[in-house]
């Protein structure tokens, strides 16, 4: 007798869910930390804490949760001891980040070393398991190759980051220090985040938004094109080839091409039902395009870096993760309840009311716009207002995601 889906490949429900529910909480903490900053500059300890609460607490936390779930779907890969992997990674990441923030607030070196060790253990353990599973896939699609390349760039950028930290700690700032910092930023953003978003987009956009699949040739151009450019970048940096502008022009075209085809797919989706997650995806693509143009213009004008961080970090990455999580979390709830043989489940659309998502979307969008105006006018009042909207947005985001999780918990216990 058939009793539901097989869970041979999927990780347990709570393994990725705890990552997804913790991410908006860290975003709230990031907002609170930013609110108390004296100046909105990179050297303010509260801003350093904010940046890491967003990058590690929200972005990396979401990515690790999503990868646990996506590996079986895109690669047919089974994560061995999925619960153990999830628990160790989750604990080391959460505790590592808390110690990291405290180390900057309290200026305690010992806390910093504890934080660095915990983060290192968690991230390398997860990355090595994921890479091992991905390398084992026999017919590697561009999605699998994209994930592999993205994780390899993550490891490289992490190693360069450690080099930078040690150089800072011992006060040995060499002439090449700035080049290493540039390499670190480029590998984190374009190598790790951009390539991973491309791979996930190729998978999830046709799956959740009912669009045609991305052309294989387009997948190849974007993923391999990015990799070749990133391979070329250290050569131009360290051999002083003065070809940074060529690198920027090529990358700008590549990213704008990705934005164009993704927006086209979403516009031509086969089921044109009202879907707030499409608003998030479109916003994300718009900010990616704006951020890329801004990054390009920074070669010619002396433009502030905090606006770039806003466009790329909050506008592109955080928006896309909001949209993806609104699909992934209800999907997991449906999938795991079905696997238990429970078929009287609300549909994915009914798990989180559209109106609640819409309210959160407008808080998110308003905060992005106010951040942009605040940074442009250098107005701390407007920036603080944007921070309040950002905090409210993430509280609603948590509540919305939890609605779906609550359905699982209540149904499981009934």
């Amino acid at each position: 007798m058939f009793v539901g889906l097989s869970l041979d490949q999927a990780p347990p429900y709570k393994a990725p869910i705890k990552f997804f529910l913790t991410a908006p909480l860290f975003a709230v903490l990031a907002g609170i930390s930013a609110f108390f900053a004296n100046d909105f500059i990179l050297h303010d300890p509260y801003i350093i804490a904010t940046l890491h609460l967003i990058t590690i607490g929200f972005i990396v936390m979401t990515i690790l949760g999503a990868l646990q779930q996506m590996l079986p779907v895109v690669a047919g890969a089974v994560i061995p001891k999925a619960n153990l992997l999830a628990n160790i990674t989750y604990l080391s990441l959460t505790l590592g980040l808390i110690f990291f923030v405290l180390s900057f607030m309290l200026y305690q070196k010992v806390l910093f070393f504890i934080a660095a060790t915990l983060l290192l253990v968690g991230l390398f353990y997860f990355t090595s398991v994921a890479l091992f599973q991905l390398f084992k896939v026999q017919n590697k699609s561009y999605i699998v190759l994209g994930m592999i390349l993205s994780l390899l760039f993550f490891i490289l950028s992490f190693l360069v980051g450690i080099h930078l930290l040690i150089a800072n700690a011992i006060g040995n700032i060499a002439t090449l220090h700035y080049n290493f910092a540039l390499l670190h930023y480029n590998y984190i953003f374009f190598g790790f985040l951009f390539i991973l978003v491309v791979a996930l987009t190729i998978q999830v956009v046709p799956m959740f938004w009912v669009t045609n699949a991305f052309e294989k040739s387009d997948q190849k151009i974007i993923i391999f094109g990015s990799t070749i450019l990133l391979g070329f970048y250290p050569l131009t940096l360290f051999l002083d080839l003065k070809l940074e502008l060529v690198y920027k022009i090529a990358f700008t075209f590549l990213i704008l091409f990705f934005v164009k085809i993704t927006l086209q797919k979403l516009r031509n989706r086969k089921r044109k039902l009202k879907d707030i997650t499409v608003y998030f995806y479109n916003t994300s693509m718009l900010f990616l395009a704006l951020g890329t143009l801004y990054w390009f213009l920074m070669s010619f004008f002396n433009l502030p870096t905090n606006t770039l961080a806003l466009l790329f970090g909050l506008g592109f990455v955080v928006s896309i993760m909001n949209g993806m999580l609104y699909k992934i979390v209800p999907f997991l709830t449906w999938f795991h309840l079905n696997a238990k043989g429970i078929f009287t489940i609300p549909t994915m659309r009914d798990m989180i009311p559209i109106k609640n998502m819409q309210i959160q979307f407008y808080f998110h969008l308003s905060s992005l716009i106010l951040f942009f105006i605040g940074f442009s006018m250098d107005s701390s009042i407007i920036i603080r207002l944007a921070i309040i909207l950002f905090i409210i947005s993430n509280i609603i985001f948590f509540i919305n995601l939890f609605r779906s999780v609550k359905i699982y918990l209540q149904t499981e216990n009934s």
Binding site: S6, D8, P72, G76, N212
Partner: protein
């Protein structure tokens, strides 16, 4: 006489295609098979089919992916193979 259950899931978003197949698996018998037309390859469905002792064959036709699914009880496998 073979009976085909046609499931065209090309315009359904995840997880509806999976849900539809799961509902129809219980209808499979000596003479009935499923023809699922999809726009993506459902890797997770394969594991489920294998562990529940269903047979399947996947064909790639233009932009579509066609998955034929039948149970061990199905007796007209020769006729089905002509479709592959």
């Amino acid at each position: 006489m073979s009976e085909e259950i046609l499931l065209d899931t090309r315009e359904l978003e995840a997880p509806e295609p999976m849900g539809l197949v799961l509902l129809n698996l219980s209808l499979l018998n000596e003479t009935t098979y499923i023809k699922m037309v999809h726009r993506l390859e459902p890797l997770m469905l394969y594991t489920h089919l294998t562990s529940n002792k269903f047979q399947y064959k996947t064909l790639f036709e233009n932009d579509n992916i066609i998955i034929y699914i039948w149970s061990n009880a199905y007796q007209e496998i020769k006729k089905l193979e002509e479709l592959f």
